[in-house]
């Protein structure tokens, strides 16, 4: 009986402790982890993602060949400081007819509740969709990276993905970033003058 009890404890502990074993940060050339996001309620955001059905969705369902994901937290000072810069990047993409429907920007607030993500969005007037990851599920999937962290992904026609950019820390000059990022895509011919 005692052995069974000890075994039960060990088993439960093992189950619980095995779960948080984190993956490594996404590597360029690899696949994006299988991230599930809650569908946005806002129709503008749905239109932006080209997606508007169901309760949840996966990143390859976004109707664009490239997605840039910002892993952030409302509680992270660098993310707060970087917010206007990322907004600028979004504006640059949207203002360029050749990039507008090709590169989509989303943010995932790791450890942030829906309320906290909304607070961040309102505070910094963030025009692109942000998603909460209150229980750190996605954070673990992306290797528990520090924030902000940027992941650029190519979405293939067959629904597979390829990571084309993986970066810890702020973007720096957005024009320079966009040029460098575009060079990693098939869009490069369209961006360069």
């Amino acid at each position: 009986m005692r052995r069974i009890a000890i075994l039960a404890i060990l088993l439960v502990s093992l189950l619980v402790w095995a779960a948080p074993l984190a993956a490594a940060p996404p590597k360029v050339g690899g696949q994006l982890p299988d991230i599930t996001l809650t569908a946005p309620k806002d129709s503008t955001e749905k239109d932006y993602l080209g997606w508007g059905w169901g309760k949840s969705f996966k990143i390859p369902e976004i109707k664009a060949p490239y997605v840039l994901i910002e892993i952030f937290s409302m509680y992270c000072p660098y993310c707060q400081g970087e917010a206007p810069n990322v907004n600028k990047l979004y504006a640059k993409i949207q203002a360029n007819p050749k990039l507008k429907d090709k590169i989509k920007l989303i943010g995932i607030g790791v450890g942030n509740t829906a309320f906290e993500v909304k607070t961040f969005k309102t505070k910094y007037k963030i025009p692109f969709p942000l998603f909460p990851d209150g229980d750190y599920v996605i954070h673990k999937q992306v290797g528990e990276v520090r924030t902000p962290y940027f992941i650029g992904v190519k979405i293939n026609a067959d629904g597979t993905t390829r990571v084309i950019h993986s970066q810890l820390g702020v973007l720096g000059d957005v024009d320079q970033f966009l040029t460098q990022f575009s060079a990693l895509t098939d869009l490069k011919q369209e961006v360069l003058p």
Binding site: M1, I9, S73, M74, E116, H139, T147
Partner: protein, 201 residues
């Protein structure tokens, strides 16, 4: 057999305890680079609360980073007060909590509330640490000497000498309206605090 069976509830209890002991997940800002010490998973709460909702909050005076002395009583009749105790500078969850509050000054303003951030660290440590958070709009107080006196008065000094991760909402009359001695491994959700501040309106 009876004797063995009697151990089963204890075993199950221990298993459940282990189950709920987890959840020390956190995300770190790149602002801190590799300067954060990871204490690992800690006992969620390790103290006995000595204050109650509905009772007067014990007054205190503590030194702030900017050199001022700040007393709880100075806000009496003027501001609602949120006390945010965090365990220690340069640790994972704490390093995120105040930058979040720093971003939402307008929420505190809307509720006519001031935030006082308190740890048992000394002033130089608090100075270096909070410098990584950017410009903070609220006072950061040091409950370093006599060590953890205020935390002890409130009953939130842990057995290893750091404070709990605790929130106290105190109204303009100096009465405690809300207490959250949180699981030290986790950050309290902002909406809960905002909900409590809403109740003061």
């Amino acid at each position: 057999m009876k004797n063995h069976l009697s151990r089963l509830p204890a075993a199950v209890g221990l298993a459940v305890l282990i189950l709920f002991w987890t959840g020390g997940a956190f995300a770190l800002s790149d602002a801190y680079k590799n300067n954060i010490y990871h204490p690992g998973l800690l006992k969620p709460v390790d103290s006995n609360l000595k204050v109650k909702v509905g009772k007067k909050a014990p007054d205190f005076t503590l030194p702030a980073i900017n050199g001022e002395q700040v007393s709880l009583s100075q806000f009496r009749g003027k501001k609602n007060v949120v006390l945010s105790f965090v365990p220690a500078a340069w640790t994972p969850v704490c390093s995120d909590q105040w930058p979040g509050y720093n971003m939402v000054k307008d929420i505190f303003d809307d509720h006519d509330a001031i935030l006082l951030g308190i740890t048992v660290d000394n002033i130089p440590t608090l100075y270096s640490w909070t410098n990584q958070m950017g410009q903070l709009w609220f006072p950061v107080l040091s409950d370093f000497w006599p060590h953890g006196k205020v935390a002890r008065t409130y009953g939130i000094l842990r057995s290893d000498g750091v404070a709990e991760r605790a929130l106290f909402v105190i109204d303009k009359k100096g009465v405690i309206r809300y207490i959250d001695v949180h699981n030290i491994n986790q950050r309290p959700a902002l909406e809960v605090l905002v909900g409590e501040l809403d109740k003061l309106k």
